[in-house]
Symmetry: C2
Subunit: 498 residues, 2 copies
C-alpha cells in the first residue's frame, strides 16, 4: 500500500511542480516581461495548466485515491490528511468538464478585456453582456455539483474549504450594524489630520524603510525577494522561495510600507509551511481567509499599532525630517489610522473595509441565485454604498466597475478578505493571552515571539486543517466577529475620543 | 491528412511551451532566485523536462510522424521541413532509454559538484573518476545509434546537425598552422599597449554604454531585456521575448560592452526567426555554430572594427574622460584587439581563440574513441597548450579544469565556437559584396542594412536548413576557414605592422 502512496505523491508532486512553474511564469509576466512576450506567455501558462489538470484528474489518480482513502480512513496522520485533501480536489476537478474549462478561459479573457475598457470609459454597458455570460458560466459550474444549501456554497468552498454561505451571512449580519454605527460616530467628531502623509517622499527611501521593517518581522530574504510590479502580491514557488511585489504611488507614498508588511505577512505564512508537505496538496496556506488574517495582522494589528510606531517613528522621522517636521508620534499614529468613508475598497481604512466586502457579497449571492439582474447592478451598488458607507459613487468606474475579480470569473472570493480581518483579531486576542508582554516586545522592535507563535499554531500546519477547524483549534471558537468589533471599538475610541 | 499535421503541431507546441517554461525557470535561477530556491527549482526543471520528453517521444507522435513523412516526402514547404526536423528529433530521442537519461542526470549532477571542488582546489584527481563515468555514459549514448564513420559524429550531430567529425578535422587541420604561424609572427613584433582598459570604470556607465550600442544594432527591447547574472548568456522564451544577461568584472571593465554585443548577436538571431515557426521545431537558431557566427560577428567583425570605433570612440571618451585621457582612436582600436597568448579560453583574443578549441576537440575525440585515457588529460592538455599557444598552464585550474562543459556531460559542443568564427567571416565577405558601403554605414553608426541582410539570409529561416546547407546556400560554399584566415591576416597585419 505504501507503494500506492508513493505513486500518488509522485504524480501530485509533478502537478505541484507544474503549478509552481506556472507561478514563476506569472510572476515574471508581472515583474520583468517585455511587452512583446505576452501572447506566448499566455499560451505557455495555458499548456502548463492543461497538463496539470490532466495529470491531477487522471484515472490513475482516481484509483490510487480510492484505494488509499480506504486504507487511511479515520486516521489523523499527515498522509491521511494529504489523501483527504487530494481526494476533495480530485472529486471537485473531475466534476468540471475540460470543455467547460476551455470555454470559461475564452469567456473570461474577453470579459477581462471588456472590463478594462468599461472601467476606463466608466461605462457599465460595455461590461454588462460579458458579466452576464460570466455569471451564466458560474451558474453552470454550480450545476456540476450536488445541490447545496445555497448555490453560492459551491463557489465559496473553492476559496474557503468547508465554509457555508449561511455562516458568512450570519457573521456579516452581526458585524454590519456595529461597523455602520462606528463610522457614523466617527464622522460626527473632530477629524484626524493627515496632510503630511501626502507630501513628496523619496521612493527608494520609502522602499528601503519597508524592507527594513519586514526584515525585523522575520521575512527570510534567503527564501524570498521583493520586486516592483503594477500591483502588490505574494507568490510561492516553494517553501524556500516565496516572493512579494510592491509598488510606489506618488499620491500615497507611505502605502508602500504598509503593502510590504501586508505581503510579507502572506509570505511568512508560506515560508512557515511544513517542509515535509512540499510537493503535496498540504503545502502552503489553508485558505484565503486564513492567509488574509496573516497579512492583515502584520499590516494592521502590528503595523498600524501605537507600540509599533513608538519603535519605528523616530527612525522614520530621521529618514524624512522635512516631511514629518513637527509631527508627533500620536499624530502620525492617528493619521495612518484615519477613518474616511471612501469609494474604493483597496484604499479603505479598517473601520470601513468590511462594509465594502459585505456589499459585494450580497451582490454576488444575488447574481448567483438570480435574485439580482446584472442590468440593475450599478444602481444596487450605489444604493448600498449610501446605506453602508454614506457616500454615492459619482460614476461606475469608482463604483461597480472598480474591482477586477468578476471580470475573470472569480465570484466567491471577496468575503475572504473580511473573514481574514475577523480571524486576525481572533488570533490576536489569543496571542495576547499567550504572550503577555507582546506590546512591550513590539515597542522594542522584537517580533520573534509573535512569529514563533504563528509558525507553531498556524503556519506549520499548511493545508492540513480546514479554515474553520484551524481557527476553532487555535482560538476555541469558529470564525466570529466579536473580537474584531472589540478591536475596532477600542482602537477608534482612543483615536477619535468616542 | 492536415488533421494529422494539426495534431502533431499541437503536441509539439506543448513540448515547446514546456521547454520555454523551463527556460524561464532557468533564467530566473540565474538572475533572481534567492539561494533557498535551488532544490525545488531543480525538481521543477526535472519535471518539465521529463514531461516534455514523454510527450515528444510518445507513440502518438511516432505514428503521426510516420504518416506525415510519407505524405510530405520530397516537399520543400515549411511544413515538410518541420516534419523532417521533428522526425529526426523523434528518432534520436526514441533511441535513448528514459533510464539512461535519469542515470545521466544523476551522474552529471555529481560530476558538476566534483568539478567545482576540483577547480577550486586545482586538483584534477577529484574530478577524474567522475569524468571517467561521464565519458563512459557518453560512449554508451553513442552505442544507442547505428555505427557512424566516427563515434564522435553522433555527439557532434546533437549540436551541429549533419556535420561530420572528418569535416571538422579537415577544416581545423587547414586552419591550425596558419593561426599558429600568425601568433608567432605577432609575438615577434612590438606589442600593443592596453593599460588604459584596466583602469577603474563606473559600472553603470559601462552597462549603459553597452545598451546604447546594442540599441543601435537593432536589438528590440520590446521583445527582450538585459539583466545581471554570474555569466553572460542569451535565452529564448518566444520569438517575442529573447533576453540576454551580462556581468561586470572590475579587472576587465569594458568586457561588459563586448559581452552585450555578443549576446545581442545571439538574441537578434532569435528575434529574427520566422514568427510562423513559433511552437514548432523550426523556431530559433539552426545550430550552435550558426548562432555563434551571429554573436561573434556583432562582437568582433563589427564591434572590434576600426569603422565601428570611429563612430563610438568619441562618445566613449566623453563618457570616460579621465580613463581615456590622451588615448587615440587608433590606440584604443589596437588595445581592444590585442593578441596575447593566454591560458583561459573565454578571455582569448580572436587570433588565439580557435587554438583553444582545437585542443579541446582533439581531447574529446580521443576520450570518446578511447585513444586518450582520462588520467593523461592534464599532461596532454599542457603539451598541446605549449605547441599551439606557446604557454604552459601553471596548474590544472587554469588548464584542463577551466571549462564547465565536460562536467555536465557536454562533449561535442566546443568545436561549434570555432566553427562560428569561421562562418562569421564567410558571411562577412558575402555581406561586403552585397552591401558595398558597409564600412561607411558602420562608421556612421548605421546597422539596419546589415541586420536586414542577416534577417533575410539567416534569421528568418530558423531551423529550416541544416547549418552546412544554410552556409552553402548563402555563401556558395560549405563551412571553410579561408575567409577567416584572410580576415585575421588583414586585421593583424594592420594592427601589428606585419
Amino acid at each position: 500500500m505504501s507503494e500506492k502512496l508513493n505513486q500518488l505523491k509522485e504524480i501530485l508532486g509533478e502537478v505541484s511542480d507544474l503549478q509552481h512553474a506556472g507561478s514563476v511564469l506569472d510572476w515574471d509576466q508581472n515583474v520583468n516581461m517585455p511587452s512583446g512576450g505576452s501572447e506566448a506567455r499566455g499560451q505557455q501558462l495555458a499548456t502548463l495548466g492543461k497538463i496539470a489538470q490532466e495529470k491531477s484528474t487522471s484515472e490513475e489518480v482516481g484509483r490510487l485515491i480510492d484505494d488509499l482513502k480506504q486504507e487511511f480512513e479515520g486516521a489523523d496522520s499527515d498522509d491521511a490528511s494529504m489523501i483527504r485533501v487530494a481526494a476533495r480536489n480530485y472529486e471537485k476537478a473531475k466534476r468540471v468538464p475540460a470543455e467547460f474549462v476551455a470555454e470559461q478561459a475564452i469567456v473570461t479573457t474577453r470579459s477581462f478585456e471588456a472590463w478594462v475598457e468599461a472601467r476606463s470609459k466608466s461605462d457599465f454597458s460595455i461590461f454588462r453582456p460579458h458579466l452576464e455570460k460570466v455569471v451564466e458560466l458560474v451558474q453552470k459550474y454550480v450545476s456540476f455539483f450536488p445541490p447545496a444549501d445555497h448555490p453560492y456554497d459551491i463557489l465559496l468552498d473553492d476559496y474557503e474549504p468547508g465554509m457555508k454561505t449561511a455562516e458568512v451571512k450570519e457573521i456579516f449580519n452581526n458585524l454590519r450594524p456595529k461597523q455602520v454605527d462606528l463610522i457614523k460616530k466617527i464622522s460626527s467628531v473632530k477629524q484626524v489630520k493627515d496632510d503630511f502623509l501626502n507630501k513628496k517622499y523619496n521612493e527608494k527611501k520609502v522602499w528601503d524603510f519597508g524592507e527594513a521593517i519586514i526584515t525585523k518581522f522575520g521575512y527570510d530574504w534567503n527564501r524570498g525577494r521583493q520586486d516592483k510590479a503594477p500591483h502588490p502580491f505574494q507568490t510561492t514557488f516553494s517553501v524556500n522561495d516565496t516572493r512579494i511585489t510592491n509598488r510606489f504611488e506618488t499620491d500615497n507614498p507611505l502605502s508602500t510600507i504598509f503593502s510590504a508588511m501586508h505581503e510579507a505577512g502572506h509570505a511568512m505564512y508560506e515560508q512557515g509551511s511544513n517542509p515535509a508537505y512540499e510537493r503535496t496538496p498540504l503545502a502552503g496556506g489553508t485558505s484565503l481567509a486564513v492567509h488574509e488574517s496573516q497579512s492583515r495582522m502584520w499590516e494592521n494589528l502590528v503595523g498600524r499599532s501605537l507600540p509599533f510606531w513608538e519603535n519605528f517613528f523616530p527612525e522614520l522621522k530621521k529618514t524624512f525630517p522635512s516631511q514629518l517636521d513637527g509631527v508627533s508620534l500620536k499624530s502620525f499614529y492617528k493619521a495612518v489610522n484615519k477613518v474616511e468613508p471612501s469609494l474604493i475598497r483597496v484604499n479603505a481604512d479598517e473601520a470601513t473595509y468590511n462594509l465594502h466586502i459585505m456589499l459585494r457579497l450580497e451582490l454576488e449571492i444575488g447574481m448567483v441565485d438570480g435574485s439580482i439582474s446584472i442590468k440593475d447592478l450599478p444602481e444596487i451598488w450605489n444604493a448600498k454604498m449610501r446605506d453602508y458607507i454614506g457616500i454615492t459613487p459619482p460614476n461606475d468606474a469608482q463604483g461597480v466597475l472598480q474591482d477586477i475579480h468578476w471580470s475573470y470569473g472569480s465570484i466567491g472570493y471577496f468575503s475572504t478578505y473580511a473573514l481574514g480581518n475577523l480571524v486576525s483579531a481572533q488570533l490576536w486576542e489569543k496571542i495576547n493571552v499567550d504572550i503577555k508582554d507582546l506590546d512591550d516586545q513590539i515597542r522594542k522592535g522584537k517580533f520573534d515571539s509573535l512569529l514563533g507563535w504563528l509558525r507553531e499554531k498556524i503556519h506549520i500546519h499548511g493545508h492540513k486543517y480546514d479554515p474553520q477547524d484551524l481557527v476553532q483549534k487555535v482560538t476555541g471558537s469558529k470564525i466570529d466577529s466579536a473580537a474584531y468589533v472589540r478591536y475596532l471599538t477600542k482602537k477608534y475610541s482612543d483615536i477619535y475620543g468616542l
